[in-house]
Point group: D2
Amino acid sequence: MKKVTVGIVGGTGYTGSELLRLLARHPQAEVVAITSRGEAGVPVAQLFPSLRGELDLAFTTPDESNLTQCDVVFFATPHGVAAAQAAELTAAGVKVIDLAADFRLQDLGVWEKWYAHKHPSPELVPLSVYGLPEVNREAIRAANIIGNPGCYPTATQLALIPLIEANLIDVNDIVVDAKSGISGAGRGAKVDMLFAETYDSFKAYGLNGHRHLPEIEERLSVVAGKPVNMTFVPHLLPMIRGIEITAYANLTQDISLSELQVLFEKRYKNEVFVDVMPQGSTPETRTVKGTNRCRLAVYRPQGRNKVVVTSVIDNLTKGAAGQAVQNMNILFDLPESMGLDTIALLP
Amino acid sequence: MKKVTVGIVGGTGYTGSELLRLLARHPQAEVVAITSRGEAGVPVAQLFPSLRGELDLAFTTPDESNLTQCDVVFFATPHGVAAAQAAELTAAGVKVIDLAADFRLQDLGVWEKWYAHKHPSPELVPLSVYGLPEVNREAIRAANIIGNPGCYPTATQLALIPLIEANLIDVNDIVVDAKSGISGAGRGAKVDMLFAETYDSFKAYGLNGHRHLPEIEERLSVVAGKPVNMTFVPHLLPMIRGIEITAYANLTQDISLSELQVLFEKRYKNEVFVDVMPQGSTPETRTVKGTNRCRLAVYRPQGRNKVVVTSVIDNLTKGAAGQAVQNMNILFDLPESMGLDTIALLP
Amino acid sequence: MKKVTVGIVGGTGYTGSELLRLLARHPQAEVVAITSRGEAGVPVAQLFPSLRGELDLAFTTPDESNLTQCDVVFFATPHGVAAAQAAELTAAGVKVIDLAADFRLQDLGVWEKWYAHKHPSPELVPLSVYGLPEVNREAIRAANIIGNPGCYPTATQLALIPLIEANLIDVNDIVVDAKSGISGAGRGAKVDMLFAETYDSFKAYGLNGHRHLPEIEERLSVVAGKPVNMTFVPHLLPMIRGIEITAYANLTQDISLSELQVLFEKRYKNEVFVDVMPQGSTPETRTVKGTNRCRLAVYRPQGRNKVVVTSVIDNLTKGAAGQAVQNMNILFDLPESMGLDTIALLP
Amino acid sequence: MKKVTVGIVGGTGYTGSELLRLLARHPQAEVVAITSRGEAGVPVAQLFPSLRGELDLAFTTPDESNLTQCDVVFFATPHGVAAAQAAELTAAGVKVIDLAADFRLQDLGVWEKWYAHKHPSPELVPLSVYGLPEVNREAIRAANIIGNPGCYPTATQLALIPLIEANLIDVNDIVVDAKSGISGAGRGAKVDMLFAETYDSFKAYGLNGHRHLPEIEERLSVVAGKPVNMTFVPHLLPMIRGIEITAYANLTQDISLSELQVLFEKRYKNEVFVDVMPQGSTPETRTVKGTNRCRLAVYRPQGRNKVVVTSVIDNLTKGAAGQAVQNMNILFDLPESMGLDTIALLP
């Protein structure tokens, strides 16, 4: 069987290197081009020494890269880049998967408010599909442009969807307390992200508004069939990889914890990447590190009216590059977990 | 001026060693006895090499320790120990400060439910005072027995008291998402607390109920003048010291963020250990490590109805031994910050 | 092709869980039994949640486990256990791979001095083979009992072998400064290995003699054809996985750095798991985490007489379970890297 | 008593903030000016929130700062700055303490080779004093310009001086394997020092030559009265603060471990900041964090010919700002440990 040929635009950041790690072992995909203006000519294994002996490929300039000859192109770029190039690629029959935010929101007004510039290709937005396979699998299969979900939105939606689909909670008053490892901030040289500024410390950030909030609200509103309102506070963990979110909502119906457990297990019964843990367990980020899994657990503390869900993912894998490969597998009719079967290190 | 003579019961754990660090530098206190059955005869500096050259003292058995000759005795022991010995000590005129939970709750029924055994001296409970100086300073000054607050309850109460005193929030629906460093679990040899089990990972725990919940609810109910209901979920941070809590509540009055800021600043204007940070700041645990400070910030995200407060302390200092020394200073009419003026390392 | 059937004795520690991680993905091996008296009946995925959905197996008592029916049995046990059971297993035609130290030393006098008890089966020792494939591949292929090398000895030997084989250094005066992550201390509940005792700190240990010293000296003496003398000082890194050793030796011949580089590259040209990095590089432990690779670099600082080699491995993989699987692959004529092709996470 | 008035040039880096932490609590010193072109006008507590409520001071431009009115000026600047300004300051009667390398080496040829530019004021170098009080106390007392030692050189010299003074080792073949926390790399925004690039990893660096090597060799040669030759390999620890060095040398005389222990204890008997630990102990970096102490231990492994010394300091305190304050105390006839009595946090 002919392998899927893959191009990656912007491969020098952390989602780019994660794509390389996953695709280097993918049995039915082959990275044929990875672009970087700054590193053109440099072997990827020089920038990412974990790839020494694993991937014989060098960065190329966008012009040299013949992206229109690829089957699929991933954009691991700043916001705005994918939208500017998607039209040409899709016209050439290339599938586009954007790991940035250009195709995450359907409401362009909201997009332009939160991303603070004009959308480069508004006409493509309605044609794009939001790439959360656990909700949108069939639409993804037929899509030409996929907006790969944000990391927090992935962990949050998987935690809340069963409750919202079953109409069990007050969607006007949801609290999501989110914590992320530092790799989410990217590979840019910023004083705030130095080891000496972040190790052995913890803080909230983005309290005035994080761009993942409108994404979560828009997508959950689609699920709910009505507007969803959420208070979303992210925090910075002194770890490289891993997101945990703890979601709190008020139950609108009386439902026992055991029934909640059954609800979640049923909802995700066929989802290979979502693990509903047994009652009383607590998901740990280390058990999903480097994997495409989400593990979650549902609680009703003290039997009160509040339902609590805790959910963990690896922000670079299920929260970015892993989910992108999962979407690629769906697009090309490959087994959904192909190339995504890593087991987390423990310890 | 004669120094305050101090006894410490149970000095081999982390709150005990933190008491030693603070008292070794206290200009008006002298540790004259520190008990440990297991380590009797061993110099404290052998167990805690950071004290080499700082404190010339050895552990003694409780019998040798002449605790009734001390001015004050700190209990850094498991729950139940202070309550069993407090009557004898207070009869001898010794002040008692319990760093465990024997005197944190006035409602004995609740205490016995959460601590799962009979209280050893129920008659002393009504005579004891809850040692949160920012609320109870005058009562502390006159007390013989002080129940030193729990770590989470300290960070949480300081975050919420201004809002509750001003009757601004719905006290029936408060969410507190709390995160603590691992030293809170103590110095016992447990597999779950090994480095290899906790480093580079994050998880919720205690979702079925943490003992600090009834303490917070009881104390805030006193402030509110009516029952307070809270959802409280603690999490384990891969750090040694530091607690951050993010509290979420619904406003019952329309109040601007600037007015909220003023409210907090006024409430803590005279509190040397509470730092209300400027609007838009986010407290970091590293800035309070090893200090007795609480730093907090108040937000009203997206101008919606939810008020959010983030608050940080060092769980072993303001959350345990530092607050105990602060209480001792009040008891003996010393300046409240004496011996508590450490500046956190940065970086 | 029939899969190799595998038994694991003592699977509740860290080398046991690492064997499970690797073998769960091995295309030609199947774990059929994993013993633990304490955890008999418990699914492995309950103890190691990273294995949920990956391995459907429970611990069994040694009696139930039918180890004599396996093709190969791994011992991930304390010293002494493998030696006590190896005779029965090899008599039944089962290959034995001991991850402890029973078959690492040929000199029983030295063994009994350092391991402080009588060797349980001295007659088997001369029949066993030291399982460092880069030196002993042909002997391993024919062996019935393999003594899997220690972690420090693996990193150290790979660093020094090219120099000793070429007779380039004074083998009477080698210094090895070694650093290891904490997982090397195992999963036992010890206060010294608590997170709160080891995080954010670094120290030497074992200065009076580490058991890996006689192992390294014996094996390198075989290579040198004369006694090798080494000063070996291990240190404890605040990380879970990873060993780095820096080796220092005096050159006995004048040889340029470029010639040293060529020497190392030639020696390891055909070794898939040894990566000689380009001149001027420095191996990082993160690039080998979870993998079976050793990366190393050779230097001659300031052009002086001292040659310096720095070498990194993952102590649980190439330093234990990964190397054991590599030995299994050799024993059963499988491709040597089968099941060992993980790429390290970066970042 | 009039306080010593202090100016700090270049206060936005990590040695600058450490000076501020220490001097904010110094009973006989007062920081009157801290310069920064980039941050002029900004309160120091805004850049370093740990100083909120502790120090009421803002950065000023060099021109505004009236440094010639200070009693002493510390330079926490890149190499070259102090040398350019020292003449003017000393002419005005101001003492100069340079925390960079301008006055660490007497041999200007060596300096210019390693620092790769011309020394800005070669005439001042012979007048300056190397500020290691444990060797140079009397010269420091009379100095006008002090070259504050490097971090590695401090830990290394304190480890080796007793052996060299007693003429016990071969000074032609010393190995120093050094490890440092990341704060040593400073507060500049570099990709290599990001949390995501350095956490959970370990590596050697600077194998081709670190600038601290010539400093150590020059100073130890003075002690030895003949040239000292060292192989010095630094490594990067995933911690913020802390240096450990392990030094290896060949004994030239037969001396027992107990005699070595006595030698070290005698040498440092009157040194408040050097703690010779009891035989068999191992110094941990955490026990000196934030303090001005060096702890060390001496070994003779297996009774062989190699003496091994392990020594720990905090690179920002005894390795930089703390030692600078110690030098200031000596210069102004203050008790040497004034303002330097912090006890390390444990845990």
